[in-house]
């Protein structure tokens, strides 16, 4: 990796002052599980690194009126083992517990997970100068796209790499961003951006001199949460597809549902069609399958990833069954 200077601020104000408005000239370092690998692979070559672990909050705080605030520097392991979060937002905890490996969860942070760059192998190998590295093409449509997006129409076909982003969108999280002009609040659903030729080098609205400092989750109310992830390897691997499903019930029937998929699109992919399909229904294997069908309607696979449609359907179906407290069959547990 290229040599860099290092700043270790003690608060968010100083941290932001050490950043730069120039793209990738100065980068914040949290757990480092993504950034250091990217720097070693010369995908990213910042001049300066700002350690934000001492500058940002790493705790969970209860909000007045219900809801919680999660500090961006909180380690994933601490989130995965947090009793209060587990009780109120079980999908957050499940998602955090599925990230990477124990070592990655011990180092990786909430903010780092949300802001990590794509795992796309074209992006990660310096030989391929793709859109995201200032080039003029995405190599995946004509190349090896078995793990790429099945929703969206380019110009980049990455899938968003964050496990937490999906439940964050499902739970209607708001992200607190802090920059030179102070703070701003951005709903998770607006934070992640579909690629355009103008914004393709980034995956979200965070400015180079801003930090994501907190994830604010509103009071969940009485909802049921489900989360299901399909991984090729059961040990360390990236999900082929996963889903978070929230159900607000009216007796045995679903009043409203929230269905969000991960690893299928450049952003967490909410399916209102699936939500509509669930409304008013009692959850059975059949209604769950029908909603899953609806969720994947309109998917546009690339040359080698049509199988992801089936995988994503299964993830949605099983997340729905999981939310409903029904038995979810699984090769891991059967």
């Amino acid at each position: 990796m290229k040599a860099f200077s290092y700043v270790n601020p003690a608060n968010e104000r100083d941290a932001v002052r050490a950043l730069s408005p120039e793209f990738e000239k100065v980068l914040p370092l949290a757990g480092g599980q993504d950034l250091l690998a990217r720097m070693k692979d010369y995908v990213t070559e910042p001049d300066r690194i700002v350690n934000v672990k001492n500058a940002l909050d790493a705790t969970v705080t209860s909000m007045p009126g219900g809801g919680i605030k999660i500090g961006a520097a909180m380690k994933l392991v601490d989130l995965a083992e947090h009793p209060q979060v587990s009780k109120l937002y079980p999908a957050m905890v499940l998602a955090a517990g599925e990230v990477g490996t124990p070592q990655i969860r011990n180092q990786g942070t909430v903010g780092g997970n949300l802001n990590q760059r794509p795992r796309c192998w074209y992006f990660r190998n310096e030989e391929f100068v793709c859109f995201k590295k200032g080039g003029n093409q995405c190599f995946s449509p004509a190349g090896e796209n078995q793990f790429h997006a099945i929703f969206g129409s380019g110009p980049s076909f990455i899938v968003h790499p964050s496990s937490l982003a999906v439940p964050c969108v499902a739970y209607n999280a708001t992200f607190r961003l802090f920059g030179p002009k102070g703070e701003r609040m951005v709903p998770a659903s607006e934070y992640f951006t579909m690629p355009t030729l103008q914004n393709v080098r980034t995956e979200n609205v965070l400015m180079p001199n801003e930090l994501l400092t907190h994830v604010i989750l509103p009071a969940p109310g009485t909802i049921k949460s489900g989360h299901y992830e399909v991984r090729y390897k059961e040990s360390h691997d990236w999900p082929i597809a996963f889903a978070t499903v929230l159900l607000a019930m009216n007796g045995d029937a679903v009043r409203t549902a929230r269905v969000v998929m991960g690893a299928v699109a450049p952003v967490p992919w909410r399916s209102e069609a699936a939500e509509t399909a669930l409304a008013g229904k009692t959850i059975t294997e059949e209604t769950a399958a029908a909603a899953a069908e609806a969720a994947l309607r309109g998917a546009k696979p690339l040359s080698q990833n049509a199988y992801k449609i089936q995988v994503a359907k299964t993830a949605v179906k099983r997340a729905i069954l999981h939310a409903a407290g029904m038995n979810v069959v699984d090769v891991k547990t059967i």
Binding site: A18, L36, K53
Partner: protein, 205 residues
Amino acid sequence: MASKDDKPGGFAFSRRDFLKSAGVVSAVTAATSPAESEAQTGGVNAVGPGDVPVRLTVNGKRVDLMIEPRTTLLDALRNRADLTGNKRGCDRGACGACTMIVDGRAVYACSTLAIDVQGKQIRNVDGLATPAGLHPVQQAFCDKDALMCGFCTPGFVMASVALLEKHPSATPEQIRKGLDGNICRCGTFSRIFEAVSSVKGVTRG
């Protein structure tokens, strides 16, 4: 088994000789390299990109180094302090051979900057055994033949120690999940699982 380095051929040398040549400083006397001006960093001190003094606490001992901020914890210990017990396998946080315990938690030392872990308690495999003998995890690995080439072993041992210090009576599920961050290419997993399952008496860390 004794190292053969000093057998015929006369290659005896002391660890001190290497350390001298590797830029380890015994006391922090060297000046910091010219850093960026405070104006550039918004009033917060920046250090580097050249060598800067970094003080680590490794296996309870102070290690003072002059290294660049980009130096990883793994490289700092292996290349500068001759603490070569933990290995570099993938250098990208996937194989786990570099696993060390920092403030009680298993981490990938290849994906940790040395400068970032100043003031923390760092344990690597070189410091795990005591003069009284092997750590129970190390002993179990030997007893069950939970190693072949042994290159992944230091990482597996440290990951297992961290796991058992967190869950002294770990369930099979906890052991599996707890060791999912390490890869053994020789394929000793079955016996590692057996070894870790057999360990008794690790106290909560």
